[in-house]
Amino acid sequence: MVDLVQATLHGDRRALARLLTYVENEREGVEQSLAALFPHTGHAWVIGVTGAPGTGKSSLVNALAKAFRRRGQTVAIVAVDPTSPFSGGAIMGDRIRMRDLAGDKGVFIRSMATRGSLGGLARATRDVIRVLDAAGFDVIFVETVGAGQSEVDIVRTAQTTIVVEAPGFGDDVQAIKAGILEIADVLVVNKADRPGAENTVRALKAMLEMGHPAAREQLTRHHGQLVSVELSSNGGELWIPPVVKTVAPEDQGIDDLVAALESHRHHLIEARALTGLERQHIEIELYDRLEAALMARLLKAIPGDVLSDVIRRIQARELDPQSAVNTILEQA
């Protein structure tokens, strides 16, 4: 795998593709590869694209990728689709909307199934992004599953998050419910050629304005556990997500969208929030990994029959759950 790392760093696409498979499969030895690649990461601009199924995420990524390519930047795309809980299989059709990008060696598209993960990304998506970052791609788009709910993983991974809406998707109320506005850095109303687009724009703007300053701050802090501290300590202005109308298959509104993305990036840089954001992402990731590692270590240290015995005693009301935890920790 040492060879794969070197080849990937030198732009070998086949090696990159194979390494991504190993990362996705959490293959034995891949930790060393990721460690070797890590010093080469931290350069890519990671842009998340989320929103309900069928709103046009893939079509938008296609249009955006073309726009960034015209500016001479290389683009990687990670498109995440749900794994069927029944069979463990998946159908991933995002490439259908990305055919304009075929034949361009400055673009690399990878489809990824969630494999049981629930937060809108797969467990290995973070590492997949890292490999693409080390491979030198300037911009990395991450299209989430689009369940519309609990898409929290993406804001812990991307620097800029686009939330895509489309007219007639029962948007308004649902968007608030799903907390989708809280994660948006840029809001897109795609399918602006469809009736009702203006209503959707108006509804979104009204909701954004509804948040009076205090509420806005709350939202920002929530999004951010990430940016708020940096922002206020810097006296910088709050970022209000712009609403951009697009017709993705016609490339309409894409220049405006690119401009909105750029200004969000500038905002992060000027507010000196980029490093704060990264620090938060690292912190969250570290806790995630610690949790998983500690749990694995604990389970290894405890004989299996101890656990089943404890479960039996809890059910028999001989032991309450918290005392059981204390007992287990003492034994480990």
Partner: protein, 139 residues
């Protein structure tokens, strides 16, 4: 993790015919058999298929061809895949393929040819077999 990893399959429709019902039926059957299927849609050029197979690092590429252009398209896809270093990746062809063309296709690096009457079960078994026989050297 030592659990078995899903087989990855690219399903593509090269050529100009505009029917992808069959391809979608196969895609669903493979998903239901626990495979990860990347579906690329209609009117793919051989270049697009070979490039997608490379990026997605699939185990198997399945081509659905109804247009009668299989003798031109299939060898070209195989050649481009080999150029991309994908000699290990199995190539399957489904669709309307006359019996007399099957030997020629197989001689050109196609592992299986499946006509309209084929059961999805046969395709699933074929894929599992070629992937199992191959994974020895691929690890």
């Amino acid at each position: 993790m030592t659990t078995e990893q899903p087989i990855r399959v690219l399903i593509a429709k090269p050529g100009l015919d505009g029917h992808d019902r069959g391809a979608k039926v196969i895609a669903r059957a493979l998903r239901d058999a626990g495979m990860e299927v990347i579906y690329t849609g209609l009117r793919q050029t051989p270049e697009m298929v070979a490039e997608a197979a490379l990026q997605e690092d699939v185990d198997v590429v399945g081509l659905s061809i109804l247009s009668g252009a299989h003798l031109a398209l299939v060898p070209r896809v195989r050649e481009l895949m080999d150029d991309n270093g994908l000699q290990d990746v199995a190539l399957l062809v489904g669709g309307i393929i006359p019996d007399e063309d099957v030997p020629a296709l197989k001689a050109q690096g196609v592992s299986g040819v499946f006509g309209p009457g084929t059961s999805t079960e046969d395709i699933i078994n074929h894929i599992r077999q070629v992937v199992a026989s191959r994974s020895g050297n691929n690890g």
